[in-house]
Symmetry: C2
Subunit: 293 residues, 2 copies
Amino acid sequence: MKRLIFAAFLALAISLIGGPGLSSAANDDLSLQHIRNATIKLTSGDTTFLIDPMFAEVGAYEGFPDTYRSWLRNPLTPLPMSVKEILDDVDAVILTHTHLDHWDKTAQDALPKDIPFYVQNEEDAKAVRGHGFTNVRIMKESDEFGKVKLDRTATQHGSKAMYADPDLGKALGEVMGVVFTTPGGKKAWLVGDTIWFAGVDEALAKHEPNVIIVNAGGAAMSAEKYKDAPEIIMDKEDVRKMVEKMPKSDVVAIHMDAINHMTVDRKDLAQYVREHGIRDKVLIPFDGEKMNF
Amino acid sequence: MKRLIFAAFLALAISLIGGPGLSSAANDDLSLQHIRNATIKLTSGDTTFLIDPMFAEVGAYEGFPDTYRSWLRNPLTPLPMSVKEILDDVDAVILTHTHLDHWDKTAQDALPKDIPFYVQNEEDAKAVRGHGFTNVRIMKESDEFGKVKLDRTATQHGSKAMYADPDLGKALGEVMGVVFTTPGGKKAWLVGDTIWFAGVDEALAKHEPNVIIVNAGGAAMSAEKYKDAPEIIMDKEDVRKMVEKMPKSDVVAIHMDAINHMTVDRKDLAQYVREHGIRDKVLIPFDGEKMNF
């Protein structure tokens, strides 16, 4: 009888103390693994998203024309692990846009063709279906996969002056950002390939993300006419601005070192965040590094 | 006349406020640039030391025999800049020992033959003179170069069991650590290739360094007989121990990623220090990164 009472008390204690705590922790589980460049994996609970897969070997492609250091071949750095290892636990793919540094032939060949695959619009859906994928979905403004809520955010992949040039505007094209919300309510924002524009402030105010993943390499055009504002994605000053706006969030800086047109590399950013006293707010992952939030 | 009085006041103000402050800051100046692997530059004021130069291209040498992953060719990663850039401002070389991952033919060919060159003992002095260098000095227990004080520290480049094997003991050999003290009194300790042994605690107690540079890759032998304690340099647990012992110091972790026998890489260590809540105490530089202290 004493044993029975003890067991009942134990069960009660576990349900009161351990139970809700554990369940809330599990619902809040959020981790990120940086693969290379803009390719990352985001995991919440038992759901893992692969984002912007680009798996090419070093030097597979010509540099982007009319951009900074266009004579360099992409990618500049190798993958930190085998493609098989990368794909091991992936449940769905999210493609923010189809530029070569986010989606390439090597990834197209490696991924299972029936994997759930989110794209931003009909044009990209058509392209990805053309690459043989059979389970392609256009992400809704507010969507969900498994237990993870997905909210789209707006981007601007270059200056207004660049978009005013029809050819360059078309080449820069559209990109989506995505806010991932765990069942517990933790939010990670994949900002996407964008400069800082009004939509960034709006998304911060609307979503108040706990983790902000910034494409921070300061990729730049090389043309003389854009020399005063050559960048088409965020850079180290934008990382600092993000920290100033969201001092309680973790800022994870990616999309550096691997592609010709990046003007900021990880060592530059690491020096910069130390000099500006914001090293504790900014995470700059090594290739392959996993981070739990 | 008013102008003259104003100028006199200004000069007085500068001498009282700016003068001593600036001078003390200059005397305390200490910066480190991580090149690759164990190769770093340490600068105090206008004096720059190049430490353990190994400049080979990727894959130039066979892996170290009888070590972890001996089938890989060294180095595994490229230099982050040209050798010319690395050597640009170097005033003296310090060689902790002559193992190939600290001193190689490419560095021997690149360095000016008359550069002041510190080694640990007569054997290494003979070797380096044999490589053509004409200004080779055996570092004294307490020495100085320019305005920088140099104090030697002891090391143990493997377990006692390893040193009990005559062949392996000879191969592991001797290594020196060095404490660099700026004119202002700031101290950086280059711990060197060593496991944690009594001499490490003694050096910490004696010197109380502000900056501790740990060779943290956990390089390991592969033989079955050493499998319980295979490491010949420090690893991530030693980094944590260093932080616990010296909570007010900056620990800089190097000697990872570039050589076959490393069991810890930078992404592993980055994950580990975050998981253990000591990320703010441990700096893991990218190749080429500069840090001011």
